[in-house]
């Protein structure tokens, strides 16, 4: 077991290195000057721009820059943002809580909704409940999440005026009233993410349950006189959850990507909004750091999914 985990981790490290190299290469080989914003400024002469270029190390060939980036990263130094001149890591830490709050809460709700709906759907296959659930999960993953967001804004914020349109990041939660305000402003961004994630997870849960319900051990359990509840919960559910749990782990990076859209729609100043503004400002160090963080998340959760699958399913051999 330990060996299996160790090998998985050892594969993940070179993958991360290659991905960081690819992202760096894409950024470096792309045309466009990260200092273009200074070129338009008449107060900064060509010589000063050259100086800034040397200062940031931009005059060196990009493979050398990559090695330098990597060595400073190994010391925990993510570089400096071109536009705000502050350390990248500080900006990321500053933006992280908003994203984690919304994304974490949304995913938690989605999982709590999807598992029971999926179970009920599978147990009562082709019933009215199942048909409705199936229909809604199809709707859920056929709507682009920005459109769900626009619909929610139109309905809940413009017409009903229940929730604010724009997320206020200056709000400090220090009393019951401000807590209520925080809950209300988080409601819509969370709702949009929940709709999208629940749809996919419900489908997986349902099909995983159905795969197990037709197996022989279920018939055996029924034959020895166990009640329906015990058969479903203790036997079928336990087995069906194995692939679903790994999928839940695999889905975490995608919900961060979903946050890019909701954060731009509701003006939550989290990591997703930071990525878009940095891309538009050609702020290469921030873009590099964020894309790399998203890759690290993907790889870590792939790893967790792999390991959990091994732990939960004794049939998986650690070959």
């Amino acid at each position: 077991m330990t060996q299996y985990i160790l090998r998985r981790v050892l594969i993940a490290i070179p993958t991360l290195l290659v991905i960081s190299f690819v992202i760096f290469a894409v950024l470096a080989m792309a045309p466009g000057d990260p200092l273009a914003q200074f070129a338009l400024n008449p107060a900064i002469p060509e010589s000063t721009r050259q100086l800034i270029r040397t200062q940031f190390g931009l005059d060196q060939p990009w493979p050398i820059r990559y090695v330098k980036w990597l060595t400073s990263l190994s010391r925990g130094d993510w570089g400096f943002s071109f536009s705000t001149k502050s350390p990248v890591i500080d900006i990321v830490w500053q933006r992280m809580p908003q994203t984690l709050q919304v994304v974490g809460l949304a995913y938690l709700i989605a999982v709590c909704l999807a598992i029971p709906i999926g179970i009920l759907s599978a147990v009562t296959q082709y019933s009215i409940f199942d048909n409705i659930a199936t229909f809604f999960s199809f709707v859920g993953f056929s709507v682009p999440s920005f459109f769900t967001g626009i619909l929610c804004i139109l309905l809940f914020a413009v017409n009903l005026k229940w929730f604010p349109i724009v997320y206020s990041t200056t709000l400090e939660v220090n009393s019951l009233a401000t807590f209520g305000q925080q809950v209300r402003q988080m409601f819509l961004p969370v709702l949009v993410l929940v709709v999208q994630q629940t749809a996919a997870l419900t489908r997986f849960m349902r099909s995983s349950m159905l795969d197990n319900l037709s197996l022989d051990y279920v018939r055996t359990a029924r034959a020895k006189g166990l009640s329906d509840r015990v058969v479903v919960v203790r036997h079928v559910l336990a087995n069906s959850l194995i692939p679903v749990i790994t999928l839940i782990a695999l889905g975490i990076p995608t919900i961060f990507a979903g946050a890019i859209i909701t954060e731009n729609l509701f003006r939550v100043n989290g990591l997703g909004a930071l990525l878009i503004t940095s891309i538009n400002n050609s702020d290469t160090p921030v873009v590099m750091a964020l894309t790399f963080i998203f890759s690290i998340l993907t790889i870590i959760f792939n790893l967790i999914a792999d390991i959990m699958y091994g732990v939960l399913d004794p049939r998986v051999r650690y070959g």
């Binding site: 991905i19 045309p31 682009p144 139109l154």
Partner: protein, 345 residues
């Protein structure tokens, strides 16, 4: 008629046909049942999939032939209104860009069937044009993703060994790339040179969006194809083909591939839908097509600024994206059931 009656009706027709086919069996010859015929029979029974096919056909006709009918109508209406188009031979593009200053942001009416935007441009004409772009993006991105995936999967599964190892490592690598950030990044960074190389912004953005989406969506197909090739290459018909002296590539693509087609077709269908969503998301984030090219995603984004004054501007194109993708997903689901009756997802 209640649903139960309808169901009963359906059952009686089934019994009559089967009775008929029994009569025929006792006769001389009956039409042979083919694999595709069976699939079609299963597919027809999938009501949602048939709904999908109908909607998609309607969309296809609307964006290809629809403008021919609507063009004449809109021109006459504009003339009556007093805002005729100066262009003597107007096409869809001219209608898309035509500014009708007499009706700015009007709700759907008899002149502009779906209303107009803030510059008085006709929303239906723009939706038709946008549909062409969006559906084309979905289709071409799917072709790229499926061809790449099929090729990689086929080579990895057929040759095995170190080729398989290397290709699967690359597949894993692509699966670990954060897709949306990476697409945003590449489209943003490379769009100017590609536009320069292609001559027009629209073709340039089309090429880059389609390539990037396609190149980041082939991995699942590669895995599916590899898995089927691994088992199919051990079958007798492959041995027979080898014994007959058929070349390696012909065995792979003429003999094995048709047997692995089912899951590929399903993956291809679903890929069209997800490419349409990705493209509209890019437009929403401001990294998609140029502002004067109305794609569905672009129309929703532009319309979302006028949610209070003119909600139809965002709602109609959004509903079109939703309906198109929903139909594609239903179609994919029906195809999955029809081509592989054992699978359930």
């Amino acid at each position: 008629m209640s649903e139960a009656d309808q169901a009963l009706d359906g059952r009686t027709t089934v019994t009559t046909t089967s009775a008929l086919s029994q009569q025929l069996t006792t006769g001389i010859a009956i039409k042979p049942r083919t694999l595709l015929g069976d699939a079609w029979r299963r597919f027809r029974r999938h009501r949602l999939a048939m709904f999908g096919v109908a909607t998609l056909l309607f969309f296809g006709l609307s964006v290809s032939l629809g403008p021919l009918i609507y063009q004449g109508y809109l021109l006459r209406q504009l003339e009556q209104e007093g805002m005729p188009i100066s262009n003597p031979h107007p096409d869809l593009r001219a209608l898309v860009d035509h500014l009708d200053f007499l009706s700015l942001m009007t709700p759907p009416n008899s002149i502009h069937l779906l209303g107009t935007d803030d510059l008085g441009r006709d929303l239906l004409a723009r939706c038709m044009y946008g549909g062409r772009v969006s559906l084309a993006v979905g289709f071409v991105a799917m072709i790229i993703a499926i061809s790449l995936g099929t090729f990689v999967g086929a080579v990895a599964g057929f040759f095995g060994g170190s080729i398989d190892q290397i290709l699967m490592r690359i597949t894993d690598l692509f699966l670990s790339l954060p897709v949306i950030p990476f697409i945003l990044l590449t489209v943003y960074l490379f769009r100017d040179p590609v536009i320069l190389a292609m001559g027009s912004p629209e073709t340039g953005i089309f090429m880059i969006v389609v390539t990037v989406i396609g190149c980041l969506a082939w991995m699942q197909t590669a895995r599916i194809v590899r898995a089927s090739f691994l088992s199919l290459k051990e079958k007798e018909f492959v041995e027979a083909a080898t014994a007959l002296g058929v070349g390696t590539w012909a065995i792979m693509f003429r003999h094995i591939l048709p047997n692995a087609m089912g899951p590929i077709i399903v993956a291809a269908t679903l890929e069209v839908g997800s490419a349409i969503i990705t493209e509209s998301t890019l437009s929403f984030l401001g990294v998609g097509f140029p502002p004067d090219t109305p794609t569905w995603g672009r129309l929703v984004t532009d319309g979302s600024q006028y949610l209070q004054a003119a909600p139809w501007l965002a709602l109609f194109p959004g509903a079109l994206i939703f309906l198109a993708v929903l139909s594609i997903n239903f179609l994919g689901d029906g195809l999955r059931d029809a081509l592989d009756p054992r699978s359930r997802l």
